[in-house]
């Protein structure tokens, strides 16, 4: 044992404490955030990193943030090296300086050992607006990043406890909801300060020497835990491929190719062969690509493994600048936390499925968002509404069917959609239907979760405008190990006097006439395993519940007798 070795009990206590610290930061954020996207859909993360940007602990909120924060922390550390003081607060969002995409603003509070900064207490939160050409930052028309919003390179907002009013005013004037911005930023900083206070208390209790050594041991422990799982998988070189429909600017079937070399406790993920970078906003920033790879690994190991620097040490990531997974500076990237993150995750999980069939899950749904802006005739006030309902289906797993309406890969059941009764009371929208979408789940021994259908009338008096952002109207969530793909999305606009038309995933400025009807059918999750091995009882149940219809049953001939192993136990009915 090394001389400064800490006993395993202290290491364990420190590990539990670290987890509680980031959780408490998250609870405080949830209770104090102002805007809907933060306190409802919980699109924020809390974490502790060290000055080298190594992730020490992260609360389990938004998976796609998990591997991205180290790059942001490193960026701030490097920029302000030697010039970090107690009471400082830093901000950053630029994807070419460590951020994921512009709406994710990150606040950093340093934690000091005496005069020496040791850790960053971090809060990253998706802003309801970040400037740029369109409301809410999702600009499908953008062909460069300047059209997407204000870029914040590492920036000092508080200096030794004093807010820099000029900087704050400049930031606030560049976003459309300065009030939300102020409220959310205060909540972010408050949450990061809790992390600072708790880290200092930890060091106070155990002493800095022990705390630092215990944290090293915690990271090493997570590494051992991850490697132990990877080591059980079959060695080999595996390939997986996933596709985006398009970039909204004419480039179609954009491929992500993962070549995964699994040897012992190591994984080499090579994305070099992915499509060259594209014109539209489905390009990924480098930190976001790293994060997507980390998410894929996190989904395949034991779910309760702590997420820290050690967890991701077994990964070696190889990618090429100028590809869709690592765009060159200046390219638009706002959609990347959804697309192409999801395709990166899917390509990797698909590649590794033969190596770990008892862990690999089929594809989860794609994201297809709509924002409608207009005037509410009941109040004459402007409104903006974001569509979160009709969640797409979750992918089937080696143990069961996928979650109906489980959501997308990158959030996996983490996005809460709002009540439609509340929506009708607050917005000039009327919902005729919000139900599961039959036949949308990919067939398999375990069926993909179904997506949803929303049928909605725009009860405006003046034309409103809609923007979309998403993907997956041609490529559905992938089936795996013989399972079928989930149905892709299908959104249709019915406007009086016009023929019904398919809504594209990347449109800006759709004119919404009074009385227009939207039918939004979201995709289902992929199926797992050969559909012929699905037990007859499960098929009958699906029929009775209307998750599949007769025509679909005919297309996917089910077996007459139960499968030899792992029968689906009768769960419904």
């Amino acid at each position: 044992m090394a001389e400064n070795a800490v006993d395993p009990i202290t290491i364990s206590v420190v590990q539990h404490r670290l987890f509680a610290i980031v959780e408490e930061m998250g609870e405080a954020m949830l209770r104090t955030a102002y805007s809907q996207i933060l306190n409802s859909s919980r699109d924020f993360s809390t974490a502790i990193c060290d000055l080298d940007g190594r992730l020490i602990a992260q609360a389990e909120h938004v998976p796609i943030h998990v591997g991205a924060l180290p790059w942001a922390a490193r960026s701030v550390s490097e920029f302000f090296q030697g010039d970090i003081h107690p009471g400082d607060v830093f901000l950053l969002n630029d994807p070419y300086h460590g951020g994921n995409h512009l709406p994710d603003l990150t606040a950093f509070v340093p934690v000091f050992e005496g005069a020496r900064p040791r850790y960053w207490s971090i809060n990253r939160a998706h802003q309801s607006d970040i400037g740029g050409a369109t409301h809410g930052a999702y600009n499908a028309g953008a062909t460069d990043i300047w059209q997407e919003g204000i870029r914040v390179t590492p920036l000092r907002l508080y200096e030794k406890g004093e807010i820099k009013r000029d900087v704050m005013a400049m930031l606030a004037v560049n976003v459309r909801h300065p009030r939300d911005f102020h409220g959310d930023l205060q909540a972010m900083i408050g949450s990061a300060r809790i992390g600072e206070r708790r880290m200092l208390a930890l060091a106070d209790e155990f002493g800095w020497t022990v705390t630092l050594a215990a944290i090293e041991a915690v990271l090493d422990g997570a590494e051992r835990q991850t490697r132990a799982v990877i080591a059980t998988w079959k060695d080999g070189v595996y390939k997986g491929e996933a596709f985006l429909d398009d970039d909204g600017h004419g480039i179609e079937d954009i491929h992500i190719r993962a070549t995964v070399t699994k040897k012992g406790g190591n994984l080499k993920i090579d994305l070099t062969d992915s499509h060259p970078q594209v014109i539209g906003f489905v390009n990924s920033s480098h930190p976001n690509m790293q994060s997507a790879v980390a998410v894929a690994l996190a989904y395949l190991i034991d779910p309760h493994t702590p997420k820290n620097d050690g967890t991701f040490r077994p990964l070696e990531v190889i990618a090429k600048p100028g590809t869709v997974v690592w765009a060159n500076p200046g390219a638009p990237v706002t959609l990347c936390t959804n697309h192409c993150s999801q395709e990166i995750i899917e390509a990797i999980v698909k590649a590794l499925a033969p190596a770990c069939p008892d862990r690999a899950m089929a594809g989860w749904g794609r994201r297809f968002r709509i924002a409608i802006q207009g005037t509410d005739p009941r109040t004459d006030k402007p409104f903006i509404w974001h569509f979160f309902q009709a969640r797409p289906g979750g992918g089937a797993s080696p143990v069961d069917d996928g979650w109906p309406g489980g959501g997308e890969w990158q959030a996996a059941g983490g996005i809460k959609f709002g009540s439609l009764e509340v929506t009708e009371a607050r917005f000039p929208l009327f919902f005729r239907q919000h139900e599961f979408r039959p036949d949308s789940g990919g067939q398999g021994r375990y069926r993909g979760g179904v997506g949803g259908i929303v049928e909605m009338i725009a009860e405006v008096k003046e034309p409103a405008r809609a923007n979309t952002a998403g993907d997956g109207v041609r490529h559905g969530a992938c089936g795996i190990l013989g399972g079928k793909d989930g149905a892709p999305h299908r959104y249709t606009l019915y406007s009086r006097g016009s023929r019904p038309r398919a809504i594209k995933t990347k449109e800006v400025g759709i004119v919404v006439e009074p009385g227009d009807r939207f039918v939004m059918e979201s995709g289902g999750g992929g199926g797992w395993g050969n559909p012929r091995l699905r037990v007859a009882d499960a098929v009958a149940e699906d029929m009775a519940n209307g998750f599949i219809t007769r025509s679909a049953k005919a297309r996917n001939t089910a077996v007459k007798k139960p499968a030899a192993k792992k029968p689906v136990t009768k769960r419904r009915g």
Binding site: D7, P8, I9, I11, V13, A20, E23, E24, E27, A28, R31, Y34, S35, Q36, S40, E60, P63, R179, G183, D220, G221, R224, A228, Y299, P303, P306, K307, R359, F388, G394, S397, P398, V399, D400, D401, W403, P404, G405, G406, G407, A412, G413, G414, F417, G418, S419, L420, E421, V422, E424, A425, R432, Q433, H434, E435, G452, N545, G546, R571, R572
Partner: protein
């Protein structure tokens, strides 16, 4: 006249009778799960015997029975409820199974999806539609309704839940549906959303209405049977059922709103804590109830337990106001294990009661918290729980040795590790619950319940920077006492959305007055004592999604327009919870709530102990606290009021063992409780 409290637990039925002088008599019978009324009547026999009566004699001398039951909870947990059909607005039959899009355990993508209480085949849409403002968009179509009812009849349902869109605003279609259902199904249990939970938000409403239908028939049958048996036995007084919100309700009301008692299990303990807060003159308390598999905590603020509407049982959401009890996955039976990274975890897996900790000698081999406490010398293997059972020290040591091997440390270090990790988890759990509820735990006192709590609570307090810990002498008596001291309570709520800047003050006054009248009418059907009314509202800022509960007791309702005062209370409460208020913003009133409380006469106080000489230690024990030391052992039941004991020391009774650490100082209260001072860090 006596008052009798009856608490039916999983294993035992506890009964207590309190006489007019405040003397309590306890009895116990075995719970009879098939028909819990049998165990209750047997318990009454024993209670009568202990008091020198026969059962009819005791019941003739009894003025009130308060009953806590887990019949509804167990039906839900064990999935043994009614076969429910659900009627919804056509086009919206999947709200229940969509669960607002949320899934627990974010990184676990191999988690099976939850099974809804009503499968899709029994969720049927009916052609009808009401708008957000209450106007009828599509009249209720009788043919569509008949078809749906016929389909449910074919499927043989024994309860029907009805939840239509915006029925909280206009219940006409739900009422018409109820009439049709009553005609079609003789005796079926019908649960209507506008009666169960007349509030906006369809998922919360449908889930609560379905839970009500699921547990209603079973609870109603049980309570009906119990009442019949008590009548046969000669009892003519009221039987009051403990509700999830901590109040009590008569049998008829408890059966109608069955979902309202699903979370009432730990309500007795909370009622006891509320009583303790009064007795100790300590209005801010955190009851800390450490059992075998979990530790339940709750916040008592200003003498009243916190309520929350975000509870659930077995993954089923129940949006009714309930005591905000949170369960931490750590108890005496929690198992210590080492993960592949070498980190020690304790819980949430538990050895439970069967096989239990290794030291119980019932075949358990896993190292539990209790085993660690035994190895550390905190428990006496020959005299556990007052000598009712002995512990197998060898088995505990062997279990800890295995864990120590996995960790690469000594047995003693492993035991200390289990103890420290479980304390850390409990302290952090309390901290997170406090943050979530917007309070600072440091100003609270911890109230230790449960056999295992006394060995952990002082260290948990230290970690939380919290200076006071109280251990009641007999927690079972305290719970019963609390139950008997609980008032009748009706909650009435309505959704009435509007900006306080634009609503009409007179309308809002009338809304609250109407709700109060409804609550009073329900209460006075079975009660003629003094009444207290609490008004509150759920409010938010314009753009926010979550409402907060704002007490409106400080509002002057005689003012012509109470709205500015209501908005003021909201800003103040928001600031209290979240550190800021946005006074230039619209405050939106979403739900109005009125609690009408029928005040029952105060119980006489538990008699104080007679003054006697301080008792010396009964023994000495070697205990491990970073090193072995010899600590005196005291018998809790023999301590004298005002006697002070300094740690390190062990104080034992038949119910619990308390560990005083160095620096802790316990003083015995007039009722024989321990009031422990824990030195604060830096103090």
């Amino acid at each position: 006249m006596y008052r009798i409290g009856i608490d039916v637990g999983g294993t035992f039925t506890d009964l207590v009778a309190v006489d007019p002088e405040g003397r309590a008599t306890l009895a116990k019978s075995t719970t009879t799960p098939a028909d819990p009324a049998i165990g209750v009547l047997e318990g009454l026999n024993r209670l009568a015997e202990a008091l020198g009566y026969d059962r009819p004699g005791l019941l003739r001398e009894t003025e009130r029975i308060v009953h806590g039951t887990t019949v509804a909870t167990n039906a839900l947990l064990e999935r043994k409820g009614a076969k429910v059909g659900l009627l919804t607005t056509a086009g919206h039959r999947d709200v229940l199974e969509m669960r607002e899009g949320l899934k627990d355990d974010r990184y676990n993508l191999r988690m099976p999806p939850p099974v809804p209480l009503v499968p899709r085949i029994r969720r049927l849409g009916v052609k009808e539609r009401v708008r957000a403002d209450g106007r009828v968009e599509t009249p209720l179509d009788p043919k569509s309704l008949d078809r749906a009812i016929a389909q449910l009849a074919r499927q043989g349902v024994d309860a029907v839940a009805v939840c239509y869109f915006h029925a909280y605003r206009n219940p006409r279609h739900e009422k018409a549906t109820a009439s049709a259902l009553k005609r079609a199904f003789k005796g079926a249990y019908v649960s209507l959303s506008h009666e169960v939970y007349p509030q906006i938000k369809e998922f919360q409403r449908v889930s609560t209405t379905v839970v009500n239908a699921y547990v209603g028939p079973i609870l109603a049958r049980y309570l009906g049977r119990l009442q019949d048996r008590l009548r046969e036995a000669g009892y003519g007084g009221p039987v009051l059922i403990i509700q999830s919100h901590g109040g009590v309700a008569p049998i008829g009301e408890a059966s109608r709103l069955a979902a309202g008692s699903v979370l009432s299990g730990p309500a007795g303990g909370v009622a006891g804590s509320r009583y303790a807060a009064r007795l100790l003159n300590s209005p801010d308390l955190i009851p800390f109830d450490m059992g075998g598999t979990s530790t339940d905590i709750c916040l008592i603020v200003d003498g009243e337990p916190s309520l929350a509407a975000d509870r659930g049982v077995g993954g089923n959401r129940i949006a009714l106001n309930s005591l905000a009890i949170e369960s931490l996955g750590a108890g005496g039976g929690s198992i210590g294990r080492v993960d592949a990274g070498g980190i020690l975890h304790v819980g949430p897996e538990s050895a439970g009661a069967e096989p239990g900790p290794a030291c119980y000698g019932k075949g358990g081999t896993a190292a539990t918290v209790t085993d660690a406490n035994l190895v550390l010398g905190y428990l006496d293997p020959a005299n556990f729980l007052g000598g009712r059972t002995t512990l197998d020290a060898g088995a505990a040591e062997a279990a800890l040795d295995r864990l120590a091997g996995d960790l690469g440390v000594t047995r003693l270090a492993a035991a200390e590790g289990v103890h420290r990790v479980v304390n850390t988890n409990m302290a952090e759990g309390i901290r997170i619950v406090s943050v979530r509820r917007g309070v600072d735990p440091r100003r609270f006192a911890l109230l230790a319940f449960g056999g295992a709590a006394g060995l952990h609570v002082t260290d948990v307090a230290r970690q939380l920077d919290l200076g006071r810990v109280v251990v009641p002498r007999v927690a079972a008596v305290l719970s019963a006492w609390g139950m008997l001291a609980t008032d009748l309570r009706y909650e009435v709520s309505r959704t009435h959305i509007g900006d306080t800047g634009r609503l009409n003050g007179a309308t809002v006054k009338k809304l609250f007055a109407d709700m109060e009248a409804e609550g009073r009418a329900r209460l006075q059907a079975s009660f003629d004592g003094p009444i207290r009314v609490q008004r509150s509202a759920e409010m938010r800022y314009g753009e926010q999604v979550f409402e907060i509960t704002v007490p409106l007791d400080g509002v002057d309702w005689s003012a012509a327009d109470p709205l500015p005062a209501i908005a003021g209370e909201f800003h103040r409460r928001h600031e209290e919870l979240y550190t800021y208020a946005l006074k230039d913003q619209d405050a939106v009133l979403v739900n109005a709530r009125v609690a009408v409380i029928g005040l029952l006469p105060d119980l006489p106080q538990e008699p104080a102990l007679t003054v006697r000489e301080p008792a010396g230690p009964t023994a000495e024990r070697r205990i491990y606290l970073g090193g072995w030391l010899t600590a005196p052992v005291y018998d809790l039941d023999r301590l004298a009021p005002a006697q002070a004991i300094a740690g390190p020391a062990i104080i034992e009774s038949a119910m619990t063992t308390v560990l005083l650490r160095p620096g802790n100082r316990a003083v015995v209260t007039p009722h024989g409780w321990l009031d422990i001072n824990v030195p604060l860090r830096g103090a």
